[in-house]
């Protein structure tokens, strides 16, 4: 059985349906990427997984148990954590306080300190800036903080919404290397990215979304060489 199963998921904003019945499966230990143009419904999918948005139809199952009825703060207790689009770090709080809130649901203080050490190893910049207000960090540093903050909850499934948004190419590489490292520690990753090529090189499998529907799904290597994907998302032949 898959770790996470999304079945026939419909989501509405008011009267407008944004997701028209999507199905996704994620296995333990995988990196799965969701690709799609602006407005395809990628962020909506992640926000529904996190319980922030309630589906109008369909279900989300974690190891077979329904997840879609839980309020958002309880989803985090199931160790499913999101680093949202646009980072959304708490600008008026220090870096350290942001990380502490990431561990809000954590029960084991020892584990939290181990996580903190690990995050500081992944992003030494955060350790240097730990007393600084998050609002004064650079965009890249805020992205590191957003990912670090999500990791503080000790997730088994990490949802990343456009972690490379607005970052310099060299930082994009750092962030993606870090995602691989995180995954190698056993964390399952669902990655939403505009940067399709990099995402497919990192991921095991991928889904392609178009206006609220899944239109393709395959192993990442297969998607990378799929002519339709190359044309639509990889900017033609390279």
């Amino acid at each position: 059985m898959a770790l996470l199963e999304v079945k026939n998921l419909h989501v509405k904003y008011g009267n407008v349906e944004a997701l028209h019945g999507i199905d996704i499966e994620v296995n333990e230990g995988e990196i799965v990427t969701i690709l799609g143009a602006n407005g395809a419904g990628k962020s909506t999918t992640l926000m529904t997984l996190s319980g922030i948005i309630k589906p109008s139809e369909g279900e989300i199952l974690l190891e077979g148990k329904p997840l879609h009825r839980l309020p958002a703060h309880k989803v985090v207790r199931e160790r499913i954590t999101q680093s949202p689009e646009g980072r959304r770090v708490f600008g008026t709080l220090t870096v350290r306080e942001n990380l502490n809130l990431g561990a809000f649901t954590a029960k084991d203080p020892k584990q939290t300190e181990t996580n903190r050490k690990w995050i500081y190893e992944l992003f030494p910049r955060l350790q240097e800036r730990r007393q600084q207000l998050a609002g004064t960090l650079s965009g890249g540093e805020q992205q590191m903080l957003a990912i670090g903050r999500a990791l503080m909850s000790n997730p088994r499934i990490l949802l990343l919404d456009e972690p490379s948004l607005g970052l310099a190419p060299i930082l994009v590489k750092t962030i993606f290397d870090t995602i691989r490292q995180i995954n190698e520690t056993g964390v399952t990753v669902i990655l939403v990215e505009q940067n399709a090529r990099v995402a497919l090189k990192l991921a095991h499998r991928g889904y392609v979304m178009e206006v609220g529907r899944i239109v393709m799904q395959d192993f990442a290597s297969a998607l990378l060489s799929n002519p339709e994907v190359i044309n639509a998302y990889l900017g033609g032949k390279d």
């Binding site: 996190s50 922030i52 985090v76 008026t92 809130l101 809000f104 207000l133 609002g135 909850s153």
Partner: protein, 301 residues
């Protein structure tokens, strides 16, 4: 000089009371972006509850003035805090997803409801707090003769503000409250129960307001069912002065407004006492609408 210092200390004591009430406005505004117009009436409820408990339980006879008042304050704060939570559940929570104006109308309705309830229970006339509960001592501070009660009021408000500040700044729950005030969605993604945070805020704010009501009763010796209106307006001014949503701002704004008002009343005209507060409000809205401590950190996009 004597008059100046008398007015200054009086202003500080009254300012402390304004600050306690202002904290309720600012904390609720922080998490809900809603002005709780019924907050002034929670303050009134505090002063009447204080009066009832004081006279019916004779706490100060049994425990002595200090511990008697302390226990009284704790009871008043808990009760008014509970009323605060109920107010939110009944009047505001059903309207969370509605346009802002609906909640404002609901707040005004709640205010009228509270005022009338108090009037129906206690009547419309002034009520007098029992005298001589606190020893009518006058303390000599560097040659200045200051009533004991004034010092106690100031001390009590400073202690409560320090406790609140420590709670908000140093504890995990306090950090969660600040986070929810900044971005509720992101707070939920951290696993914070935002409804729980709102409940805590609707307990603490009214509890402080209730304590302020008790302090006014003890300081001035009389209470009336409409007094929440004017105190509420002054405290609201103080919250705006400090920057609404900003907790240290409400403290600074309250103290400052109390002092400005006391000195203004003494040196300009006592008749202008209330007008001064609103002049301050108008000035701050024109010159610095974000308040003194508002917008300390610009958010990055």
């Amino acid at each position: 000089m004597e008059q100046f210092f008398q007015q200054l200390t009086n202003g500080l004591a009254v300012g402390g009371i304004y600050a306690l009430i202002a904290l309720g406005y600012t904390m609720v505004y922080g998490v809900l972006k809603l002005i709780n117009f019924a907050h002034g009436d929670l303050f009134t409820i505090g002063s009447y509850l204080g009066l009832t408990l004081l006279t019916s339980m004779a706490l100060t006879d049994k425990l002595g003035p200090f511990f008697g008042i302390l226990l009284l304050a704790v009871m008043v704060m808990i009760l008014v805090g509970i009323v605060g939570i109920l107010l939110d559940q009944v009047a505001y929570r059903p309207l969370r997803e509605s346009p802002r104006l609906s909640a404002v109308v609901s707040a005004l309705g709640a205010s009228i409801f509270f005022q009338n309830t108090i009037m129906l229970i206690y009547g419309a006339s002034f009520h007098v707090y029992p005298q001589n509960i606190l020893p009518r001592m006058v303390v000599n501070v560097f040659g200045l003769h200051i009533p004991m009660i004034r010092i106690l009021v100031l001390l009590a408000s400073v202690v409560m503000m320090l406790a609140l500040y420590t709670f908000i700044q140093k504890t995990t729950i306090g950090t969660a409250i600040r986070a929810a005030a900044e971005d509720q969605g992101a707070a939920k993604l951290m696993g914070i129960d935002v409804n729980g945070v709102i409940m805590i805020v609707f307990f603490i704010g009214p509890a402080l307001g209730g304590a302020a009501g008790l302090m006014v009763g003890l300081y001035y010796g009389q209470v009336n069912f409409t007094m929440g209106w004017i105190y509420g307006l002054k405290a609201f001014t103080a919250a705006i002065l400090g920057g609404i949503g900003n907790i240290p701002g409400a403290m600074v704004g309250g103290i400052l407004l109390g002092v400005i008002e006391a000195l203004g009343a003494a040196y300009i005209s006592i008749a202008w006492k209330d007008a001064i507060a609103f002049l301050v409000l108008i000035l701050i809205l024109i010159v610095r609408p974000t308040g003194l401590l508002g917008e300390r950190v610009a958010e990055k996009i």
